[in-house]
């Protein structure tokens, strides 16, 4: 494409990004806002592709647009549609409404100032020659990292510690949702047409997840994209009204949830005990160790995201679940 065409493309893309964000935030109808947000995610995925970030594009399409949207829509499921406009139309006396208007304008001005300052700072940052010390250090050490996709090298080798903590964040979030209640009941069974799609789509998704995991070493892809795709397969099954969506219960479920962080930590500590730095893979082993960690991470991520979609602990014979409804005994004074 020539540069004039590219500029038109950029302009359209940017306009739709800002326009969708604006529209998603301007409405008070929750469902409308969520769907516009999902559309924003898809357009953003195109933008990531445009900015030569294919790994991010895959993750955004699978997680940002897909799963976040699915989570939000599932949460909006219980709400009446369309939501009655809140607070803005609520009856109020004039003084409070005046205060509200002042506050709204103050916040709007503040946000405009925030954007202005950021733009100003960025223009200064971009006017200097770009720093390429770090990218150069990465390509110099890429051979020793065990993978040839630099993004995977950063995620699972150079900055593997970030990724370990990130998996812990994911685990924390799902443990938090467990503490808040039971999984939502399933959806009604799918009709013939949808069921037909599910039968064909789920195996394709699982296959795609496997491919993404393996490809991550040398091409865009990796555990997160693969895990999200696998979770998407579960979400589709769930939407089609299946009760069994590939998740075990009880101990096995907890094993899968813990696997990502667990394998990561185990590898790190084993290396530490062998006299190497924490997560300092020997170059000869790095590729296999990274694949091992990524495989465990993929299953954890898939299970975690799926559990988040269910909105709590799936029904089981666990002590936790049975006792869940019991309230605390009264104080003893």
């Amino acid at each position: 494409m020539n540069s004039a065409g590219l500029i038109v493309f950029d302009a359209l893309l940017l306009l739709s990004i800002v326009g969708l964000a604006w529209a998603s935030l301007a409405t008070t109808d929750v469902r409308r806002s969520i769907i516009l947000f999902m559309a924003l995610g898809l357009v953003l995925a195109v933008a990531w592709g445009r900015l030569l970030a294919p790994d991010v594009a895959l993750a955004e399409a699978a997680i940002g647009a897909g799963l976040s949207g699915a989570l939000l829509l599932a949460a909006a499921h219980g709400q009446p549609s369309p939501l009655p406009p809140e607070s803005t139309n609520a009856p109020r006396n004039h003084g409070a409404a005046g205060m509200g208007m002042v506050l709204r304008w103050a916040i709007t001005l503040l946000c405009a100032a925030l954007a202005g300052t950021l733009v100003w700072a960025l223009l200064h940052a971009f006017s200097n020659p770009q720093h390429d010390m770090l990218p150069r250090a990465i390509s110099a050490n890429l051979a020793a990292s065990g993978v040839s996709n630099p993004v995977t090298a950063v995620l699972l080798n150079f900055r593997a510690y970030d990724t370990l903590l990130e998996l812990a964040v994911l685990l924390t979030a799902v443990l938090g949702t467990f503490a808040l209640g039971q999984a939502t009941p399933g959806y009604r069974p799918a009709g013939l047409v949808f069921d037909g799609l599910v039968r064909w789509l789920v195996p394709v998704l699982i296959l795609t997840a496997g491919y993404l995991l393996w490809a991550g070493a040398h091409a865009p892809g990796g555990a997160f994209q693969a895990g999200a795709t696998l979770a998407a397969a579960g979400v589709v099954l769930r939407l089609a009204g299946r009760t069994r969506i590939g998740l075990p219960v009880g101990f096995m479920l907890r094993m899968i949830m813990a696997a990502g962080v667990g394998v990561f930590l185990l590898v790190g500590l084993t290396l530490l005990l062998l006299g190497r730095p924490f997560l300092g893979y020997p170059p000869a082993w790095a590729g296999s160790l990274i694949l091992m960690i990524e495989t465990a991470a993929m299953f954890s991520i898939a299970a975690t995201l799926l559990l988040a979609f269910l909105g709590g602990q799936p029904e089981s014979t666990d002590v936790n679940a049975v006792a869940n409804r019991q309230r605390e005994e009264d104080p003893r004074c």
Binding site: L197, L201, V204
Partner: protein
């Protein structure tokens, strides 16, 4: 020659997209909108993909593009069906 052919295909695809979008905005009720959208989009995408495939001249890429088209066909057909059925249910109040 190939360039001209693929340009014609892509332009035709764009035309169908345009028609579909106009239909989505202008048609009166949900069913006819769905009709405009899915038919036009599927055909539009098909033509677009055919045009792009001609440009690539690599069998593997052509196959991938075909797969994209088939997946979109399946997904949009199913979702159109689901939307229509849900609308129907709400109408009949069951």
């Amino acid at each position: 020659m190939i360039n001209i052919l693929s340009s014609i295909l892509i332009l035709a695809g764009v035309f169908f997209y345009l028609a579909g979008s106009i239909g989505l905005l202008r048609l009166p009720d949900l069913y006819s909108r769905l009709h405009a959208l899915t038919k036009a989009d599927n055909l539009g995408l098909g033509l677009l993909i055919a045009g792009v495939a001609l440009q690539s001249q690599d069998l593997l890429i052509m196959l991938k593009l075909l797969l994209v088209w088939l997946s979109v066909l399946a997904a949009s057909a199913t979702s159109a069906h689901l939307i229509a059925r849900q609308a129907r249910r709400q109408e009949t109040g069951s």
